[in-house]
Symmetry: C4
């Protein structure tokens, strides 16, 4: 839907995923967890299976299916689920935007189904297939965004090409994650870019359909195009700050809960914080460094925990 | 041949290769086989040599040579094997499309010859040279597709640029395979993309030469261009499902044949399936993971095989 | 500021950073130092913290903040810190160049703050976050330079696209450094490219605003565009020579200071020089080479130090 | 020099380098040699130094210097070593092509000087710096070729963009070689591409300045552009065959010389050939394979050498 609500809703969806990722990966870093590529065998049975259904997968399916339905049947009374116009003699294709959007959303819903099947139904989780499914969803999004841009106004193109940039970087990161599933830098870069896609779509909805001045942005004005890029850069900074805030919050919460309840919160937070820093480092580095530094780190941590 | 049959025939060729790859790599994954980079010494002699001739190589040569012949001598009576028109004073080049197609097909035939020489004739197989030959064939295809696109209608360009995208991704994967010949993700990505090239060429033949409405697609209509991209995205999904189906079929067949005939098929399939999942994982990961998980896996597999 | 001084000042800033890097990395190579990814615990307290403040970080903040201020308030009396013109009915955006430049400079200043917080305030240094901050600053610079170029004259575009090329290569190198922080080739490539950006901005200021002939370069003249590229190539060579000179100077100074004061300078320099060569090699190579060559190197060095 | 001879001479230079590389790398592969990254200490003294001067370096300097001289002073009597026209009031730049070509050739000559200094004069060879110098020369060539193409006819552009493609791939390979100096695939890919650049420049000279029909190719004719690409593809195949021939010749010569003179040439060649195949494989693979296969290879080789 090339409408205000058609940009707001995917924006909120991406933003909520970004924030979910931010909490999830922060916790995984703080707890020193890794993606388990070959998970242990799981209890069989329907009930155990239902318990294991991941929130992320359900969200993807819910958002995706609702969005596809909205494309074709929203506002109520509309029915756009036709590929071509039967009334005209040459059967021209109709609703190209709706079908492109529906294709995009379906791939995200598909990725949700793969998540649920892999994490809940199969005897073992197959992280690899989940990674491929979500990477594919973003690749398809990038391809459709690219073909989406032909023949539109320059401001709209500019807005969409910046979205495409963020989307394409997510694709690259997700591809790298297939082979390096436990790299912390990739985790947080992905999170930040997904959040940026979300906030940028929200902003784009206002730029394209509800400009604050009440008048649409003039597309042929160089000044406007330059400001679109500037705004995008501010979004990146904003989302990095948001990510940092979520990470710090999770860090504080984690330090409270993880059994260091003896001292007051502030004192307890300090060694946790440096532990945290090390864990941030942990996975971005080749293994040889990890080995070399393992010994001296131990000594330092012991010293530090003493005061 | 810029004709209906000229798009159908390479489409079928790519599709048949894709399906062949799907079965081949599924079996290799299920059996835990690897590309043997330095194969054992083989018995010499013409008969042993003839026995070792690979079906893939013969198919490449057959398809390639037939296609080259068809370019120049099809339909019967036609003779296009001339580079320039001798009758005109300035000797202009003629049949540019035919020569480009013939160049493409020749490289695939060449790759077939390299396969046969390497796998059957030489004292040892040289996987590296085979990989380079097939990668080169796809690079040449990409280069010629790119130069093919100038000065054509927009719908035709759109169709060909999506084909070029799939072809270029195959190039990248084949280049990566030169250094990582046993990466399962690369195997299946390649397979899926080759199948997509095949089905897309089949679809392209209908779009360009036999539109279902009976009238050619209008090239200047944005709606048509947007639907071309949507259709391509559906092809990707379709081929992934086809690939999954072939993999599952092979898995079932393999579990029947591999000596677990004691119980009924469904029961026997279960542990095989989880074994299978692990093998899917096997090669996409750096070696350190493999080592760390080797021990716990063993325990789990023992537990699992008990019930 | 699209003015003479607006190109000279960032040029000088980049050049000074490049020269600082040249000295810093030369010394690190000569001393065989590495980026310590997990630094030892540091003494707490405000005084110790202030002592650790890095010159680089202060320079980034100073340059960045001054440049942002200059964009909005220079020359004195000017006030450009407004996003849109309140006087006109449609509230058009104003000062697009100033806001883009300010965004760029802010990211560099931000990177400076991250440096200071990481190196001085935190209980341990977090090299990873510093690397990400500076990489991000260059990515934002590249993005804004790219959007900067629309709708300008061809000579200006040509000059800026070469700057963009250097900037983009720095981005790639900084991204690679996140995972390979101790690669000597990356260190010096980065240094040379930052220096090139600096000298090229200085030259660009003269080309665009103070041409030596007194007349502006004609943008539609192919000859001018070709010379712009030639000049850029000369800058690369020039900066490589400058880098080599700084490295040699540092090498001489280091060989004097490092306790080999027994013989005259020239004699002492010789074995140091070959040590130096090895250290240049040291980090560009995979670890297996290092191990294989460790033994024979020792023997050779002993032999060499004897004469 | 945008002339016939100006394309023939660099073509011959590239071709001669390609053939030199083909022999050099074939021999290195057959002898199982590696680039010694830290070479042993060498005897000092002017005479030993002069003995070590490499032919490749001398060729680069000779070709480069002669080409620069030819740009400015050929044909005799011409003097083009002026940057701008002093006679006109606005001092316009002149001879843009000459200065661009001279810049290109100077970088190759520079790379030659670096080779000689590194291999002959320094106490130890610094392979890393040599690799960087030659990579830089090709990067500069690519950049200048790119800027060279603006505002020319389509046929000329097409020819040059294919040259640029080959040049850019050489850049990528040389960059990869900085970190993987002993990868056999990279060696031969580089060799083949340099040879292709050479033969393509020779062909380009005829296309652009001495067409066989006696009339210049029409630039606006799509047919011509399509044939340019086809011809390039044939050059690639041609040069791969040439490379294979050189490799086989070197293999035969090597098998004669390497002490297996007992039997007749054909018999002796067989085990050498399979040894050769293994060495072709040797360096393209990650080290773990090498280790795994080391044992079985030994057994096989013993068996093979017996018959």
């Amino acid at each position: 839907m090339g409408t205000f609500i058609g940009h707001i809703s995917p924006g909120l969806a991406f933003l909520s995923f970004g924030i979910l990722y931010a909490f999830k990966f922060s916790l995984m870093v703080l707890r020193g967890q890794k993606m388990q590529l070959v998970s242990p065998a799981r209890p069989p049975g329907l009930r155990a299976c239902l318990k294991r259904i991941p929130a992320e997968g359900v969200m993807k399916i819910l958002y995706g299916t609702l969005a596809v339905a909205a494309e074709f049947f929203y506002p109520p009374g509309v029915y756009k689920l036709t590929l071509y116009n039967r009334e005209r003699a040459d059967y021209p294709f109709i609703h190209p935007n709706e079908w492109q959007h529906a294709t995009m959303y379906s791939y995200f819903a598909l990725s949700g189904w793969v998540d649920i099947i892999s994490q809940a139904c199969l005897p073992r989780r197959v992280v690899l297939v989940e990674s491929i499914a979500i990477a594919l969803a973003f690749y398809i999004e990038a391809l459709l965004l690219y073909s989406h841009m032909h023949g539109k106004e320059r401001v709209e193109n500019s807005v969409h090409s910046l979205l495409l940039l963020a989307c394409f970087l997510v694709c690259l990161i997700l591809t790298a994650e297939i082979w390096r599933p436990n790299d912390h830098v990739l985790w947080f870069a992905k999170t930040c870019l997904v959040m940026t896609q979300g906030t940028w779509l929200l902003h784009a909805a206002f730029i394209l359909y509800r400009p604050f001045t009440g008048r649409p942005w003039k597309g042929d004005d160089m000044v406007n195009l330059m400001f679109v890029t500037s705004f995008f850069c501010w979004h990146v900074a904003l989302n990095m700050i948001l990510l940092l805030a979520i990470f710090s919050l999770t860090g504080l919460w984690h330090s409270r809960c993880s059994g260091r309840d003896a001292g007051p919160a502030f004192q307890g937070a300090k060694p946790t914080f440096s532990l945290l820093l090390e864990r941030v480092h942990g996975a971005g580095l080749p293994s040889q460094y990890a080995k070399l530094q393992a010994e001296e780190e131990e000594t330092q941590l012991l010293q530090e925990c003493d005061f």
